[in-house]
């Protein structure tokens, strides 16, 4: 099993990742030159053909998202969501630190497609190196005329600014991220209106994840059909998986969608550490993810296959657990996380998470009853139905999958 690197193809080839010259040597900004010759609708169409879906977790079709905002008149924004807070996930950090121009090129092309003169990259406050590398890359791109007025002699002008978080998981939600970008508390906003219609300062704002945007240069350069030929029928292209836990080689691996969990863990990540026996994975995120056991090892990693097995592709995080670990202990850790990260705005999330944590703590102390498991599911389900934003809607997945694994 070998990696298929579309996004990470330049990783390890540079001495200075912020340098324009080095990026240019590896096809850098060639895609932008091509895009500037295309009509907005042609760029969007190419992305639609590729069937690229958002890589932040929700998996919404990218071309379709762009097409909602592109026809709208007046000031619009592209926002790059670099608030990579889902535990177990570090793909965006790798892109920003090791190939920042790939992301910038994707941002400029996306902005050109939707007609945004300004874009923002919202980076979590803990990622100081990503912030510094991107600042250098932006300043270098400006000097070379890839950012600024009349880019490469075209009619398109664009500026990229960096926004910075300060420690908040909820700001990974696009509407919370927008509030935070305006200098406010990162509480989520009610939807609709969706950000594509009314987002930053109530203007149309397209919010795309770092990995999503980093796919764009290759799609425009090689065509949507080429991208679509990678992966499965419903999950096209590649995905960066970040593997952590009890494997020999934890790290990041870019693979065509559709490889199996077994190939990822036992081939690429080197299998289990010595004297450790595989028990389960927490996939899609080490908080808002799903527990899958041994019988799921041959499930293909794609949106459709994982959905059929009560799993989720999510951010591409894969936390590998061995037989010595107690699933309820991991679940308690997850619930501590949700309690800490709940913004407190809506009651089902604020109180629901606390009740879930209390019950799971009781179970980990050996004082649980079958009735407690039912209560966990009942509360988490109620939260799924009534919480304001994806945070409170998340605990049902790790809880229900943990319970079915431990039955």
């Amino acid at each position: 099993m070998k990696e298929k690197r579309v996004i990470l193809d330049n990783i390890g080839k540079y001495t200075d990742p912020a340098s324009i010259r080095e990026y240019e040597k590896h096809n850098g900004y060639r895609s932008l030159k091509k895009a500037l010759q295309m009509k907005s609708s042609e760029i969007i169409n190419e992305v639609k053909i590729s069937e690229l879906r958002g890589r932040g977790g929700a998996g919404f079709p990218t071309g379709l998202k762009w097409s909602f905002s592109a026809p709208l008149k007046g000031e619009k924004y592209l926002i790059c969501n670099a608030d990579e807070g889902e535990p177990g996930t570090f793909k965006d950090r790798i892109i920003m630190e090791k190939d920042p121009h790939k992301l910038l090129e994707g941002i400029i092309i996306a902005s050109c497609a939707i007609g945004a003169a300004t874009s923002y990259i919202y980076i979590r406050g803990e990622y100081t190196q990503s912030i510094n590398t991107l600042k250098d890359a932006i300043s270098n791109a400006k000097k070379e005329g890839y950012i600024g007025n009349n880019i490469l002699g075209s009619k398109f002008s664009h500026e990229i600014h960096i926004k910075c978080g300060a420690g908040s998981y909820i700001c990974g939600d696009e509407t919370a991220l927008i509030n935070s970008s305006e200098g406010k508390r990162g509480n989520p906003r009610i939807k609709p209106p969706f950000p594509g219609i009314s987002g930053l300062w109530n203007r149309p704002s397209v919010v795309n994840n770092v990995e999503t945007l980093s796919n764009i240069p290759a799609i425009i350069l090689n065509g949507g059909e080429w991208y679509k030929s990678i992966g499965t029928k419903e999950s096209t292209g590649t995905k960066i998986f970040t593997v952590s836990g009890m494997v020999k080689k934890p790290g990041y691996y870019e693979l065509p969608l559709g490889v199996t969990l077994r190939e990822l863990i036992f081939d690429l990540a080197g299998g289990m550490k010595p004297n450790k026996e595989f028990k389960a994975v927490l996939i899609g995120g080490a908080a808002a993810g799903a527990f899958l056991g041994k019988d799921a090892l041959d499930v293909r990693l794609s949106y459709e296959d994982l959905a059929r097995h009560n799993g989720v592709l999510g951010s591409g995080a894969v936390l590998v657990l061995d037989q010595s670990m107690n699933i309820y202990d991991v679940l308690r850790n997850i619930m501590e996380f949700f309690v800490h990260e709940s913004c407190g705005l809506c009651i089902p999330c604020r109180l629901g998470n606390m009740r879930l944590l209390e019950i799971i703590t009781k179970i980990t102390k050996g004082q649980g009853s079958p009735e407690d498991c039912k209560t966990l599911l009942r509360i988490a389900k109620m939260m799924k139905e009534t919480c304001f934003c994806p945070l409170g809607q998340s605990p049902i997945l790790p809880i229900s999958t943990a319970l079915s694994l431990e039955e």
Binding site: P87, S168, E182, S244, G245
Partner: protein, 157 residues
């Protein structure tokens, strides 16, 4: 006298930014990073409030929302221990126990000499190097009890 010098320092930081509320979080980071105790003082909030023409309560609301911002003085070194699941399963509790034992403090506390503050943090995004800790801007991964003790000793010099 002291109050005046704080105001001048803060003002020179604020002037790097346009007078727009959208820059509030960056300003607060900047103020905190330039304070030797890594916090945002009452007088700093006052200056920001005047500069952006927004209320103290609004600024306080923002500071209290984000875990990295603090209105309480902290140590020279802020130790942020990751306690999310990937570090947890790689035994971050050993590292936490070792730090607490070595420094004699619990989460949210600062050592008497003002050198270290211990905080917990959600995932730092370095899960391939679990268990991990961030000390100010520096990342330390694949930690063992021995290594964290060595790092703390090094910083105490």
């Amino acid at each position: 006298m002291k109050r005046k010098s704080v105001a001048t320092d803060i003002h020179s930081i604020l002037q790097r930014y346009e007078q727009k509320k959208e820059h509030l979080i960056l300003m607060l980071h900047d103020i905190q990073n330039h304070n030797e105790h890594h916090y945002i003082s009452e007088s700093a909030i006052h200056e920001v409030s005047r500069y952006l023409n927004i209320t103290h309560s609004e600024i306080y609301g923002v500071i209290s929302f984000y875990t990295m911002l603090s209105t309480k003085p902290r140590g020279k070194y802020i130790i942020r221990v990751c306690n999310s699941a990937p570090c947890h399963v790689m035994h971050s509790e050993d590292i936490i126990e070792e730090i607490k034992k070595t420094l004699g403090i619990d989460f949210g506390m600062t050592t008497k000499d003002g050198l270290f503050t211990l905080e917990s943090t959600s995932c730092l995004g370095i899960c391939d190097l679990a268990p991990a800790v961030m000390i100010n801007d520096e990342i330390y991964g694949k930690l063992t009890r021995n290594e964290i003790t060595k790092i703390l000793a090094e910083k105490s010099k």
